[in-house]
């Protein structure tokens, strides 16, 4: 068992003790596995998996694919791997066998309906908040994993800049970066991008569009180390940036700095979003802080790319010391197009610490 997983188990058992909880049922899949990974350290690569974690640490990991079962027995030897023909039916039956114990499950949004609606789960309570609390506050060993992920993100962005040449297709840029990450031993990365001019209103998976001189190219790179994601958002120009591009980007720099200026333990996600958005409002760009143009003004990071809290003005979650977040005022600018900026940070009692060493400026690559 890795040190980081051993520590997570200790924290989980302590939290379960405080909550008077006898067992936790968690679900994960290849899209979102943070709850499952926190408890078992098992990452689904293609499909889905579930686990029952008992108060004494006994763990049963349920998988369906024979290949997943073989992998789980190697990667997660501390858990009893249960290979199922139908994971929903098997886990439902297992809940029934647990009898009159206090069981919680998480995350409620992803827990299969066949389990949720079963008689066996009638007394199972929602444990999402319990696990969310554990996911939010990172221990030093978890923060170290985020730091290493941030380092590899920085190096990945250098590869991205070298890859970003006129004539190359968007998907070819991603190929170069993924090649770098795999060589570096990094198995996972979340990445979207945008390329073009004022017509670009967001980022998306790579398409066949070819990079042109004068393009703004945006990306968020999000590699994972030991399951922990760190994100870096940067915007570059192919060729010399125009004055309009520089002026526009200054707003994003100011917004990141405004958000980070108040970032410390005790501040709410909403307060950070307001600080960022106030900068845009100051320049009559407030409309570009709405959901028509942007999703969030940042978010949590950890065992998932997009952990709570979302940095939005109506989110009152208080950030504790040890939370890892990204403050990113990514949105559309009417003069030049979509721009992004931000990097992972860990919240401390006195402020925050970032790990990225990339310059916080509008970058450029040779045309």
């Amino acid at each position: 068992m890795t040190p980081v997983h051993a520590e997570r188990r200790r924290r989980l058992m302590a939290a379960m003790g405080e909550a008077g909880c006898d067992a936790v049922l968690v679900y994960g899949n290849a899209w979102q596995c943070d709850y499952l990974r926190y408890v078992t350290n098992f990452p689904p690569v293609e499909g889905e998996a579930m686990a029952l974690f008992l108060a004494d640490g006994e763990t049963r990991l349920f998988v369906e694919h024979p290949g997943d079962a073989a992998r789980a027995r190697i990667e997660t030897p501390h858990a009893e791997t249960v290979a199922c023909d139908n994971i929903v039916e098997t886990v439902t039956a297992e809940l029934g066998r647990l009898g009159n114990r206090k069981i919680v499950s998480a995350p409620a949004t992803l827990m299969p309906w066949g389990i949720v609606s079963s008689d066996a789960a009638k007394e199972v309570e929602d444990g999402t908040a319990l696990i969310d609390g554990l996911l939010l506050v990172k221990s030093p060993v978890e923060i170290e994993a985020v730091r290493r992920a941030a380092e590899i993100a920085d190096r990945g962005y250098q590869v991205f800049m070298e890859a970003c040449r006129p004539g190359r297709a968007e998907y070819e840029l991603i190929a170069d970066i993924e090649t770098f990450f795999r060589e570096a031993g990094c198995p996972e990365n979340f990445m979207i991008l945008g390329s073009g001019g004022v017509e670009v209103r967001g980022m998306h998976p790579p398409g066949e569009r070819r990079i042109q001189i004068g393009d703004l190219v945006t990306t968020e790179l999000t590699p994972a180390v030991d399951g922990y994601y760190a994100q870096v958002c940067r915007t570059l120009v192919v060729g010399e940036p125009s004055q309009a591009q520089r002026d526009a980007f200054d707003v994003y720099i100011e917004a990141v700095e405004a958000g980070q200026a108040i970032l410390k333990a005790g501040v709410t996600a909403g307060e950070i979003a307001k600080a960022e958005n106030d900068v845009f409002r100051k320049y009559d760009l407030g409309i570009y802080c709405t959901s028509e143009y942007t999703r969030v003004r940042g978010h949590g990071l950890g065992l998932f790319v997009d952990n709570p809290p979302h940095i939005l003005e109506d989110v009152d979650t208080v950030l504790p010391a040890g939370a890892t977040v990204i403050v990113h005022p990514n949105t559309y600018h009417p003069a030049v197009g979509y721009m992004v900026l931000g990097e992972a940070a860990v919240v401390t009692d006195k402020g925050y610490e970032t790990f990225s060493k990339l310059p916080r400026e509008l970058l450029s690559v040779p045309a």
Binding site: T109, E183, P205
Partner: protein
């Protein structure tokens, strides 16, 4: 997360092909008396929706609503700004971006009496609960069997794309292994994955059993580990929503195993032939929302993958091969 090339080439998958697949579903819906068919999708479960619409999600989740007539409608948790990209890469009707997937679906289905949901038991609670609470007068039935009954045989477009995915996977794997010997997992993985992505693969997952002297479990390596004297590698590759796997164990016996598996694409456990003994076999095909699922036998006319652990003169070998279940039995794709 899905981050390879996601695009729709109508020459490869004409809209008429997708319409014909929708029509197959509709015929079955009528027989079952369904007012709508619901198909959930997310990043690891994209296959049913992509088969009908060509849409492959890179993130988040959605539900395709297939009404008795008119184009399929897609309710998705991605933001409105992504709707344009969804429309560009797929063939569907209205796209409804909503953070309240279940609640807005329930409104859409308010006047229905009987709705079929593919893999109902696996529907996420965050979607299933609001549907169940709101649709008190609607019967929600599991439509998994209905969908499986129409999913195969594969049409020419699916077979052609699957075949091209197999060719790409094979080319990248063969080329990388030809550049060996490899000592580190990271370098080998990159040598396979990089060219595949450069050639337009939608997704590539390289898994290794890094030291067969220790175990035969294929896994995506987190880190960069030293490869043993004998190791196995499997590449799973997707193009346009269709997945294949090709696996090999480099070194002595590799070509013998490949030739034997090509001649015996549905081996039985325990079978022994010419110094080769079959230790385990897994057959996979796309039968629902997952790109590949274990199956007992391949559906008629379905592409699939056979994966096997074999012993060759006492040495373990892992191999995977894309196959097609045709009129003359199962053959290499």
């Amino acid at each position: 997360m899905r981050r390879g090339l996601l695009s729709w080439d109508e020459a490869e998958v004409p809209a008429a092909v997708l319409d014909a697949r929708v029509a197959r579903c509709r015929d079955a819906m009528m027989v079952d008396g369904l007012d709508a068919l619901l198909l959930y999708n997310n990043f690891p479960r994209p296959a049913a929706v992509s088969w009908l619409t060509h849409f492959v999600p890179y993130w988040s989740q959605g539900v395709l609503v297939l009404p008795p007539d008119g184009p399929p409608e897609y309710f998705v948790s991605l933001s409105k700004r992504v709707a344009g990209w969804i429309a560009e890469t797929s063939h569907m009707g209205e796209i409804v971006s909503t953070p309240r997937l279940g609640a807005d679906l329930a409104k859409r289905l308010d006047d229905t009496k009987r709705v079929g949901i593919v893999e109902l038991g696996r529907l996420p609670g965050g979607v299933g609960r609001p549907l169940s609470e709101a649709l008190t007068k609607t019967e929600m039935v599991d439509a998994t069997a209905l969908f499986r009954s129409v999913r195969h045989p594969a049409d020419d477009a699916e077979i052609a794309i699957t075949r091209s995915a197999a060719a790409l996977a094979s080319e990248c794997l063969d080329k990388a292994l030809g550049e060996g010997p490899w000592r580190r997992s990271g370098a080998l993985t990159a040598a396979i994955e990089g060219p595949a992505r450069l050639a337009g693969a939608e997704e590539v997952i390289v898994e290794l059993a890094p030291d067969l002297a220790h175990d035969t479990a294929l896994r995506r390596i987190d880190g960069d580990v030293e490869l043993g004297a004998r190791y196995a590698v499997r590449v799973s590759l997707a193009r346009k929503g269709h997945w294949v796997r090709i696996g090999r164990t480099p070194g002595d016996g590799d070509e013998k195993v490949a030739a034997w598996l090509a001649s015996n694409p549905t081996p039985s456990v325990g079978a022994a032939d010419g110094g080769i003994t079959v230790d385990s076999v897994v057959l996979e095909a796309c039968i629902g929302t997952a790109p590949l699922s274990p199956v007992v036998g391949l559906p008629a006319g379905a592409p699939g993958v056979v994966g096997a652990v074999l012993s060759v003169d006492g040495a373990l070998h892992l191999a995977s091969l894309p196959v097609l279940s045709g009129d003359g039995g199962v053959v290499p794709l």
